[in-house]
């Protein structure tokens, strides 16, 4: 290695992270101010008296100049203070602290499952359909993945509940009380991403398998499993990870919806309730945390990518 690309690379990633988080802070701050009409009136409710509306305005600091409000907001964030829930008075950070682990755990397990399954599945299908082998598998794969992609998270969740919890009674339908309770939500959020990512892996693998170095590996008669795992997978990881950032970040959205299906005590359920109850401090805080999680995920993918394929250290992942 000539120069030292890692410090430069990490510095660039850090800058991207700071910029994205700054954008999120502005965006979440703006939620209240973008409300059409008088935010205080909307929050207090249609039937509130004008005194009540004024009280809400003062309590939320909406009567202060915009600049002051923003500075208060940012300094609060820096102190780790996200304000209090307007409805319950509970600090927003407490709500997030108790609920974040539940959302994070299904999202991370889902991502791990997605990566492993789609890599294996996509590579296997690419290998089995190589050179006109098994044309039936080629079209079956296309049809099945298209149908799975058309299955929304909540439909998969509902079907899984009916099958495993209601009909066969082998797994719990909800709650995060046991390890077994993680199985169905994880399956539900991973099904769509597995379909789209295994398509991606399959397309990339078809290209990799045609390379000369795969013929070299074949000449060493290593057996298909070692040949693919040792020689195709490392070359596949880079291109797959490059394109999979969007799919994996999308799983955060899946995790939010799936919580309603499985009565999961996570952030997704909390943010939905906060929006319905117009509890803006809570909405703001949770969306900020979810957004930071999405940004972090993207940057972690970039760093893993650079470790797997040092060539991307200089070029970087093409996002545009």
């Amino acid at each position: 290695m000539r120069a030292r690309p890692w410090p430069v690379f990490l510095a660039r990633k850090a800058r991207e992270f700071v910029l994205a988080v700054a954008a999120l802070v502005v965006l979440t701050f703006a939620i209240v101010h973008l409300i059409p009409g008088d935010p205080a009136r909307v929050i207090a409710g249609v039937d509130a008296s004008s005194e009540q509306v004024d009280a809400v305005r003062t309590q939320l600091g909406l009567d202060l100049p915009l600049g002051t409000q923003f500075l208060d907001h940012v300094s609060g964030l820096l102190r780790g203070d996200l304000g209090e829930s307007y409805r319950t008075g509970q600090p927003v950070t407490d709500v997030i602290a108790t609920r974040l682990p539940f959302t994070l755990s299904i999202a991370l397990v889902g991502i791990a499952v997605t990566l492993v399954v789609s890599l294996a599945l996509g590579l296997a299908v690419a290998g089995l359909t190589r050179g006109n082998r098994n044309p039936w598998l080629d079209s079956a794969f296309g049809w099945v993945t298209a149908i799975v992609l058309a299955l929304p998270v909540y439909v998969v969740g509902a079907i899984l509940i009916v099958l495993f919890a209601v009909t066969w009674r082998v797994l719990p339908a909800g709650g995060a009380s046991s390890a077994a309770a993680y199985i169905l939500p994880t399956l539900a959020i991973a099904s769509g991403p597995i379909a789209s990512m295994s398509r991606l892996v399959r397309r990339e693998a078809a290209v990799v398998l045609e390379q000369d170095f795969m013929r070299t590996a074949r000449g060493r008669r290593l057996g298909r499993v070692r040949e693919y795992a040792r020689h195709a997978v490392p070359n596949l990881l880079a291109s797959t990870l490059t394109l999979s950032g969007l799919i994996l970040a999308g799983m955060i959205g899946g995790a939010i919806v799936v919580e309603t299906v499985f009565a999961w005590p996570g952030l997704g359920r909390a943010v939905v309730e906060s929006i319905i109850e117009r509890d803006y401090a809570l909405t703001r805080g949770i969306i900020l945390v979810i957004g930071v999680a999405a940004v972090t995920l993207n940057i972690v993918i970039d760093i893993v990518l650079a470790a797997v394929d040092p060539r991307t250290l200089r070029a970087g992942r093409a996002l545009v």
Binding site: V155, F213, R221, G245, L246, G253, V320
Partner: protein, 575 residues
């Protein structure tokens, strides 16, 4: 030569394929037509039934109510069909917001100064990577729960991907000749964009719109499902699913209607999107339909061979080898030859003569896209037409390929790939294998042989890589070496060194060698015997003396020799 090894040589046969709507596109369009029909008719025909309350609550499927009734006794079948209109209308509206705003913004960035454009596109890239549903939540939080706000929210969340597509599609067009010409002629930029960019955008935009419709449907119904979209008493698929889910323990049929309808609508959009994409993207289309390729099989008509010497005595024995493309074009047309132990046999011919295919097939490595049959292929004593122990074959048959750079796996270190045969098949310990490789490197005069192995291929020159490949080929004391243009990438002094090593290996190991080259001078210096290939056939076989004395009969061989002499004039007189 390498073109023969890839399926792309079958490309001319593909042009005859008719461009038509695939089964996926047709299925998608039929489904869509049915859904539109339901959306138009159901509210008029079944609207009353879907609204009528009764005391027959939470029924299972009956003759009157195919999907049962809900908690207020309303017919669920009717409700699922009636909900189609609301769902489709909202989805179309949200998709329209994404498409129109995305395309307009994507074109507008090209009217901006470069710096602002870069800024907007960077921000857009971040937005694309951001989960759409979270973006939709932000909008829903601002506008409050409801069908309108959910539609706007999902529509806005879909804008960034259309901005990206449009801006990317416009980029190459904006620098094309005719656009530059139009600009020189003083045509204003907005008109240039409208006239030249939009028409080119059609295909990809249609594909993305179909996919976006499926995503929008999922997200919009998802918002309704979690309570932020369509509110009671209105209902769409998402609302119906949310209403039914709490009752699944009592009545599992509650979720059937909305689930099936959601899947049908989503599948229609996915099928249309995939079908359109397959039409425009040849990479998605499967290759030539035909026979299975990449395999070596016994010839069907087991031709009665002349009783010749036992194939086990030779390093390589090939009879009646034929290689055909999946579509049936014959690339190697019945080649037979033997390579004795300690013998070096040259295989010469121009690009496309079938020499690489012959060599690879003889090693049992038939490339994808072609299939091989033979009366006999016996390599290093192993009958390749029957079951062979892979470990023995890998040990006894060594291969050297022509393009050193593409032959190496870019993601692995040299030693991890070059010591693979000893480690995997011969059970040699990693450290022992590494030392053996370094020793072999040293013999081929590779600089710093002890640390080379830890490098990645991109850190070495092509000539160095080729020597490393040859060093590895000589590691396992093979009985047969098949070398496909091994010296082409090397300069003359290194070439001589490598050829000396080949001769030494032949002498010490008693290995036979099949040496493929287009360079007659090298072949003449190295080979005991030479086969001349043309058009998939061996047209002439020459001994070393015959070649040296230019005793050739076939006009093609003469022309090859003439070409060699033209390039490297020798003092030798010729007939």
């Amino acid at each position: 030569m390498s073109t023969v090894l890839t399926p792309s040589s079958a490309a001319p046969e593909r042009t005859g394929r008719v461009r038509r709507a695939g089964p996926m596109l047709i299925t998608g369009l039929i489904l869509l037509a049915l859904l539109v029909l339901v959306a138009v008719l159901a509210p008029a025909l079944l609207g009353d039934e879907a609204r009528t309350l009764s005391d027959r609550r939470l029924l299972g499927p009956t003759a009157d109510h195919p999907l049962g009734t809900d908690e207020l006794g309303r017919d669920l079948f009717a409700r699922a069909l009636v909900a189609t209109r609301t769902t489709l209308l909202l989805t179309v509206a949200a998709t329209a917001i994404s498409v129109v705003a995305g395309v307009v913004l994507g074109l507008l960035v090209w009217l901006m100064p470069q710096r602002i454009r870069d800024l907007v596109l960077t921000a857009n890239a971040v937005a694309v990577a951001f989960p759409g549903l979270v973006l939709a939540l932000v909008v829903a939080a601002v506008l409050g729960p409801g069908a309108m706000s959910a539609t706007v929210a999902v529509g806005i969340a879909g804008i960034p991907s259309f901005v990206r597509l449009t801006a990317n599609m416009a980029a190459p067009i904006m620098v094309r000749d005719y656009v530059s010409t139009a600009r020189l002629l003083g045509v204003p930029r907005p008109i240039v964009l409208g006239r030249h960019v939009l028409p080119n955008l059609g295909g990809p935009l249609l594909v993305l719109s179909a996919n976006s419709f499926a995503v929008t449907l999922t997200e919009l119904s998802g918002l309704s499902f979690i309570g932020l979209g369509v509110q009671n008493p209105e209902y769409d698929f998402g609302r119906l699913l949310a209403d039914g889910l709490p009752h699944v323990y009592v009545q599992p049929a509650q979720i059937v209607g909305p689930s099936v309808m959601l899947v049908l609508a989503g599948a229609a959009a996915m099928f249309i999107g995939d079908g359109l994409a397959a039409r425009s993207d040849p990479r998605l289309r499967s290759l030539v339909r035909g026979r299975r390729t990449g395999v070596l099989r016994p010839a069907r008509s087991a031709a009665t061979h002349e009783p010749d010497r036992d194939p086990a005595d030779s390093a390589l024995s090939v009879r009646d080898l034929r290689v055909t493309t999946a579509a049936g074009r014959e690339l190697v047309a019945g080649v037979s030859f033997d390579v004795g132990p300690g013998e070096i046999v040259g295989l010469v011919g121009e690009s496309g003569s079938g020499k690489s295919l012959t060599a690879m097939s003889a090693a049992g490595l038939v490339p994808d896209g072609v299939a091989a049959t033979a009366g006999r292929v016996t390599a290093a004593g192993h009958d390749l037409l029957g079951p062979v122990s892979p470990g023995d074959l890998a040990r006894d048959v060594a291969l050297v390929y022509q393009d050193p750079i593409s032959t190496f796996n870019p993601a692995l270190t040299l030693e991890s790939q070059l010591t693979e045969v000893p480690r995997v098949h011969l059970g040699v310990h990693r450290r022992r294998a590494r030392e053996a490789l370094a020793e072999s490197f040293r013999e081929l005069r590779i600089s710093s042989p002890d640390t080379r192995g830890r490098q990645h291929p991109h850190e070495l020159s092509g000539g160095m890589l080729q020597r490393a490949m040859i060093a590895a080929a000589l590691l396992t004391e093979a009985k047969l070496i098949i070398a496909d243009e091994p010296t082409t990438a090397l300069d003359v002094t290194v070439q001589a060194e490598v050829l000396r090593r080949f001769v030494a290996a032949k002498d010490t190991l008693g290995a036979g060698m099949l040496f493929i080259s287009h360079d007659l001078a090298v072949v003449e210096a190295l080979c005991d015997r030479t086969l001349v290939m043309r058009g998939g056939q061996v047209v002439e076989e020459l001994t070393r003396d015959q070649l040296a004395r230019r005793e050739v009969t076939h006009p093609y061989t003469r022309s090859l020799l003439a070409a060699t002499r033209y390039l490297e004039p020798t003092e030798e007189t010729h007939p």
